[in-house]
């Protein structure tokens, strides 16, 4: 029988839908039109993972049967799914065995890339209603590497990284995702400015002033230590629209875009630094409810399947889409340095639909440097030493990214 999780949808709600009014006011037709244009259809592949005492389970769920094959190197695990799908990451906890790096999109496939922390026994199988690919990463006990992948899977014979890359280049050359482009120009965007001062600290510090200071220091570090070209979207206290910021980066043909902000919260306990990348948020709600209640996915039956089949997604046709994987890599590296250097609580990398990141056609991240709303962090943010620390952490992250991309 069907299980209801929390406020499940039931026949009562169906009843509401039938009664739904269809008349809409004329003056909202413009708006409706815009929304309709924004509607599109695509398949969703929902990705989630969970840690268990001796294995980590990765589940890719789709309303449609997917073909897939896997490949593995010492550090990476890749799973290529066909046809292409919009990957929605549903787990926000970190796994002790792996981390999801992002996707690589081809003409008719999507490749999900994971960083693996160890050499695990990998077991793959599929489940139906809804269709799921399940990959278990088990801690090695002996030497036996079992592998009973159901479909055209690649043997886990550990191809060298170069081989994997070459294989990808063959299939990918039309979207240029993997073509390593030399990094020459970086655009740094100090958040807010002018009359738009952003958040304000308890003793009156404006976000816009701190972001400009950190940006200038970061520019100096990059130019002096690695000799790359750096442009600031604003060099003084001035108003600048989000579109202008993105277009400055695009016009400079920048290879990296970094927007700098300071956070603020109504929660007095909030502190620490975070790195964000763009979220291409689109999902159906049943899955979300599941993620929330952390239920057993294998119990999903008829109704859930019907819902999964019914997924309609909004297509986010944004310039940033194809750089998201690189953005995630960069964000992870910057966040690591922020955690180490500042000794702040790890807030991890996060995703949200930041308008300034949407239209930049290059790897792009947004750094939230400390909480200006937190009195002690506000005090620190005003000190040049701390501004330098933050700038240096971001700088180190960028440097790591450069070596990784060489």
């Amino acid at each position: 029988m069907r299980k209801t999780f929390g406020r499940g949808f039931d026949s009562r709600r169906l009843h509401f839908l039938n009664k739904m009014k269809k008349s809409l006011k004329l003056k909202y037709f413009g708006l409706i039109f815009i929304i309709l244009i924004g509607l599109g259809f695509s398949y969703a592949a929902k990705l989630r993972y969970s840690d268990h005492p001796d294995f980590t389970r990765v589940v890719i769920e789709s309303g449609k049967i997917l073909k897939f094959n896997i490949s593995k190197t010492d550090e990476e695990f890749r799973i290529k799914i066909q046809p292409e799908a919009e990957v929605i990451l549903e787990t926000n906890k970190e796994s002790s065995r792996l981390s999801f790096l992002g996707v690589n999109k081809g003409v008719d496939y999507t490749e999900l890339i994971f960083k693996i922390n160890n050499d695990y026994d990998i077991k793959t199988f599929t489940l139906n209603s809804p269709f799921r690919i399940v990959v278990d990463f088990s801690d090695k006990k002996g030497d036996s590497v079992k592998n009973n992948t159901s479909q055209n899977q690649t043997k886990t014979k550990k191809p060298k990284k170069e081989e994997t890359r070459a294989m990808n280049n063959n299939t990918d050359n039309d979207n240029g995702l993997n073509s390593k482009k030399e990094i020459r120009t970086i655009v740094i965007d100090p958040g807010h400015g002018g009359t738009e001062y952003g958040a304000k600290g308890p003793s009156g510090t404006y976000e816009k002033d701190i972001t400009l200071k950190i940006a200038k220091i970061l520019k100096m570090y990059i130019e002096n230590y690695i000799g790359l070209k750096v442009f600031l979207t604003r060099n003084s206290d001035m108003n600048l629209s989000l579109e202008e910021r993105a277009s400055i980066a695009n016009n400079q043909k920048a290879d990296i875009f970094i927007s700098i902000h300071c956070n603020a919260s109504k929660s007095r306990k909030a502190k620490g630094s975070e790195t964000y990348i763009l979220s291409l948020k689109a999902t159906d709600k049943q899955a979300r409810r599941l993620a929330f209640y952390e239920n057993n996915f294998e119990e999903m039956k008829d109704d859930d399947k019907r819902e999964a089949d019914d997924i309609k997604l909004i297509l986010w046709d944004m310039a940033q889409t194809e750089y998201l994987r690189d953005s995630a890599n960069l964000a992870i590296l910057i966040q690591k340095e922020l955690n180490v250097l500042l000794g702040t609580k790890n807030r991890g990398i996060k995703q949200a639909p930041f308008r300034v990141l949407m239209n930049v056609a290059m790897p792009a991240v947004l750094v939230e440097a400390a909480f200006i709303s937190n009195p002690s962090e506000e005090k620190m943010l005003n000190k040049e030493q701390y501004q330098k620390k933050i700038a240096y952490a971001i700088f180190l992250g960028i440097k790591r990214y450069l070596t990784q991309n060489r």
Partner: protein
Amino acid sequence: MDKKKRLIIFIVLIVLVLSILLFLIIGNKNNSKKQIKKKNIVPSDKSELVEYDFFYQSVNGDYLIPLKKKVEKFGDMKDQIKEVVIKLFEGANSKDNKYINLFSSKIRLNNIFIVNKEIAVVDINREIFTKLLGSSIDEILTIYSIVDTICFNFPYIKGVQIIVDGRQMETLAGHIDISRPLRMDARWIRPI
């Protein structure tokens, strides 16, 4: 002569300001009356209550946590969503101090429209700006408190678009794009 003219202008100005104020107050009253009126027309059963999950900011950090609250049951989905959003804006009002209020009593729901049977357009008054801190996380949680509460409780709603006083906005505070409908994002939600 000149003095007289000035006095007249001054009086006219005062009258204008007063009438505008009066208009605004009456307008607001009418609005809330409308909402109450609707309530009285549609309820299917007398004072039948339904329980929903509301997502409010946690005092412990920067995410949303659920709170179950009961609202009056409506036969019409749009009215039901409206009721849930009005309840959401009232704040957690919970005895345990686990929640932070993201909204204020002045924030009003102007209206809700359902587009294409799956997008809820939520029209909020401009008071929403006064409660925002101007930071990313505050903007994110304010938006997803609304989006997640609606999408979580009403499975047919696949996306929520927030507009302010009938106007489409780019962002509420300079970070998060709300020019298009947003999907539920449970990554901002933690179980209690």
